[in-house]
């Protein structure tokens, strides 16, 4: 895992997009505004890392949002936290989102206290469903601090330690831009440093 400082301009740009989108639709999209903003910041920061075009508002966020690198499409999932993530922390994916046509997932964690975005790792969609644990709707999921939440929909969870990880931007870009031998179908071939 590695972290990057989220640029202040990216935060403002994402706030702008979110505000514009909510005005355009005249109702609230799925997820709280805070969750939406977290997701946008994660996506835009990843786009920035790979020097991809800015997201734009086009009846939603479909204009340039999809991250495509070396012919693979990615869904960027960002979770907002007030701490930095650890290896045993989990990433969630709502089962309804599992039908989205992407090749791989990138999981990130945004520390809202420090504005650090940690890129926890990536995994191919095929391997994700091999490795992830599925929890049915209504089950209590306990956090490490003892608190819990009840799942509102079927949920998949995967630990950070099961993701392909990189220790810095250069390594991360090398992995995604084609250095990785994908004959492993996205299996972890990098050790955690």
């Amino acid at each position: 895992m590695f972290s990057v400082l989220v640029k202040a301009d990216i935060v403002e740009y994402c706030k702008y997009l979110l505000r514009r989108a909510n005005f355009g639709k005249r109702d609230q999209a799925n997820g709280s505004p805070d969750e939406q903003l977290t997701g946008l910041i994660g996506q835009q920061t990843l786009l920035d890392i790979f020097h991809k075009p800015l997201m734009v508002y086009e009846n939603g966020f479909d204009g340039g949002v999809d991250l495509e690198i070396n012919k693979y499409t990615y869904d960027v999932k960002t979770m907002g936290r007030t701490t930095d993530p650890l290896d045993h922390y989990v990433n969630n994916l709502i089962a309804l989102q599992a039908n989205y046509k992407v090749d791989r997932y990138i999981f990130c964690s945004l520390n809202k206290n420090t504005d650090q975005l940690t890129i926890c790792g990536w995994i191919s969609k095929v391997r994700f469903f091999d490795e992830a644990n599925k929890y049915e709707k209504g089950i209590k999921r306990f956090r490490t601090d003892g608190t819990y939440f009840e799942t509102k929909a079927d949920l998949y969870e995967i630990e950070n330690s099961k993701l392909n990880q990189a220790s810095n931007i250069v390594e991360f870009k090398q992995q995604l831009e084609g250095i990785l031998d994908d004959s492993t179908n996205g299996k972890r071939t990098y050790s955690i440093t």
């Binding site: 301009d9 514009r20 909510n22 005005f23 109702d27 734009v56 204009g63």
Partner: protein, 82 residues
Amino acid sequence: MIQLTENERTQLRRAASGLTGTEFARLPYTSQQLHLDDINEVIDNLFKTHPEAFITRAVNQWKEKQRNREAYSRPQGEHHGE
């Protein structure tokens, strides 16, 4: 991410704050349009000054919007259909 000028940064901050979605929804239609025009100006300026930062499709749509705006704009005080 593009390098914003201080002026662009100020404009972006202003457009990113202010009315909430609920407050906006309560405004009369004409006020909503004025408000949208106001915050759209930010993105219009970014398209003008940093077109390379956006996907081609988005730039083309923006250009078409500008052309339509010019084609269908009416001089102040001109009335039709009355």
